[in-house]
């Protein structure tokens, strides 16, 4: 228990100060500016927190159509509630929690009909290429590309709990433990030890694959 607490506290310090599109410490100020009508502040919130919302949705294994709808619902609701959010500095947790809630609702309605189809991530061709994707275009990067795909495959093969946790943690900029807790409904204190365990498992899978 003590170990877990120390872990998460340390990690939070890191993730709040680590560079990213939006420094998490600025979130409260950006929300307040957006409430006052500052569209640039809103845009900065979207840029900084979109990957978190998307990661939460994907962590729940929603396919493209459902993922798109949940993502939009979350942002529309955030815009709608903008002036009413009680703790603006916790907007990331608000978004993560709303994304979780809406994702679970989709899963519940799907379970009544049929089994969810997994998103076909590896076969998907994105129309717009991010800088990271462009790196993969060069031939010298073929090996790097292969390595990333391997890693992604092994990640997808992890048990539900680890896959879910890691999918949320890999949002960029890195989410705080409060946000991860809101995203997955798990206690802040258990995230550090669970993260360590899951990353260790993934490392072992990758090493085993390299040795084959």
């Amino acid at each position: 228990m003590t170990v877990g607490t120390v872990h998460s506290a340390a990690y939070d310090d890191v993730s709040y100060t680590r560079g990213g599109v939006v420094d998490r410490a600025d979130v409260g100020a950006l929300v307040r500016s957006a409430v006052d009508g500052d569209a640039a502040a809103w845009k900065a919130l979207v840029e900084g927190l979109s990957p978190l919302v998307w990661s939460v949705v994907r962590a729940h294994r929603l396919g493209d159509a459902d993922a798109h709808e949940v993502y939009q619902t979350v942002w529309f609701r955030f815009a709608q509630n903008l002036g009413r959010i009680r703790e603006p500095e916790k907007a990331g947790s608000w978004l993560a929690s709303t994304a979780r809630h809406e994702s679970l609702k989709v899963l519940k309605s799907l379970r009544r009909l049929t089994v969810t189809s997994d998103p076909q991530l590896l076969d998907r061709v994105s129309e717009e290429r991010t800088p990271e994707q462009s790196v993969l275009d060069s031939e010298e990067a073929a090996a790097e590309s292969e390595r990333i795909r391997w890693m992604w495959q092994e990640f997808e093969e992890l048990g539900d709990r680890c896959r879910q946790l890691l999918r949320v943690l890999m949002a960029s900029p890195p989410p705080s433990y409060q946000e991860v807790s809101a995203a997955l409904g798990i206690a802040v204190g258990s995230i550090g030890p669970l993260r360590q365990r899951c990353l260790r498992r993934l490392r072992a899978r990758l090493d085993a694959r390299g040795a084959r």
Partner: protein, 159 residues
């Protein structure tokens, strides 16, 4: 929701493994293989237009997906939703053709069916508060009601 590997077979000791670099690699992989779709990001930016400080928000208080007991063998059951703000209640039934509903207590109202920052269809509720729209809902929606001097907006919900 558990992972297969038993406790005793952990491949590394607790202390010697630093997961940071691997997590960073995963973050890079996610940015390449599963990024936020660009068109979604743009929709979220445009959603700023939806902030509405003057309206009262009617929260979702009943959703048949969550709250109703499924009827055995029943297929294609209509989605029933109820939104409430104080004494105002809006009952909505979503169908493949669009939606119908009723404002309670009964009253006439002008209702905008919002489908996102750029889409709105306007319909009128009759004296009994009943309204319908035959524009099929394709994603999240909200209803913006004007009744007398008051404006009530329902919480954004997936149809």
């Amino acid at each position: 929701m558990t992972d297969d590997m038993p406790e005793g077979q952990e491949p590394f000791g607790e202390d010697e493994f630093d997961g940071g670099p691997l997590e960073a690699e995963l973050r890079q992989a996610a940015a390449i293989l599963d990024p936020v779709p660009a068109q979604l990001r743009e929709i979220a930016v445009a959603a700023f237009a939806l902030h509405d400080l003057d309206a009262r928000i009617a929260g979702l208080t009943f959703d048949s997906v969550v709250d109703a007991i499924p009827v055995r063998g029943a297929e294609d059951v209509p989605r029933m939703l109820t939104f409430s703000a104080g004494e105002v209640t809006v009952d909505v039934e979503v169908t493949a053709q669009g939606l119908m509903g009723q404002v309670l207590p009964p009253r006439p109202a002008r209702i905008e069916v919002l489908g996102g920052p750029q889409t709105a269809v306007t319909v009128d509720a009759d004296a009994m508060g009943r309204f319908s729209s035959d524009a099929p809902l394709t994603g999240p929606f909200a209803l913006r009601l004007r009744t007398g001097a008051e404006v009530v907006v329902t919480e954004w919900t997936r149809a």
